[in-house]
Symmetry: C2
Subunit: 114 residues, 2 copies
């Protein structure tokens, strides 16, 4: 039971959302996630995830020169990725509702205005 486990299947969606907003490269992504309040993510988390998403054709990548190091791999959403993001948001809303209901001991359909 840790924060780590709770990110499973959720980090994907967050990354899709960030990429949709703006083309991003991996190294930059870790920083962005922190700006949104998340803990700091290591590279062992970010890169494999991005590569997995590319394999599933949710994102595409293009290499671009950097002014301060090796070339960056910029990722952007594919149409399939946009669809996946939309589906993720639905799943997330659903999950949120259910968990919050459990924590407040409200059955579905019950309206329990405190």
């Amino acid at each position: 039971m840790s924060t780590t486990q709770m990110l499973k299947g959720i980090l994907d969606g967050c990354i899709l959302a960030i990429i949709k907003d703006k083309e991003v490269y991996g190294y930059e992504l870790a920083e962005k996630l922190e700006e949104y309040g998340f803990q700091s993510f290591g590279e062992g988390t970010i890169y494999p995830l991005l590569m997995r998403m590319q394999k599933e054709k949710l994102v595409t990548s293009t290499l671009r020169k950097s002014t301060a190091g090796p070339r960056r791999k910029y990722y952007s959403l594919t149409p399939k990725g946009e669809l996946e993001l939309a589906e993720f948001m639905e799943r997330w809303d659903y999950l949120q509702s259910n968990v919050n209901r459990v924590l407040k001991h409200e059955f579905k359909g019950e309206d329990n205005h405190a």
Copy 2:
């Protein structure tokens, strides 16, 4: 990317919350979760989880006779379990905020009243 993955580390907390409300046995738990809006959970999910939580001393169990089958194993929270539940709720709030911020593209500290 599935709903399954998104439950990791969250289902624990939900079960703790349900048990805190009222002593519950495994078979019954699956039904309860559905009442809260979740999909139906198989036994391969519920039982191992309960046993794991007992191993971690978050819950205790007592066998009681049933009128309609073999004895039921009723679970209730230990003080450690209550603490864990409280910590889970904090983690959950935190996660919820962060994910929702990402989905709305609001940085932390930014107030973005539409």
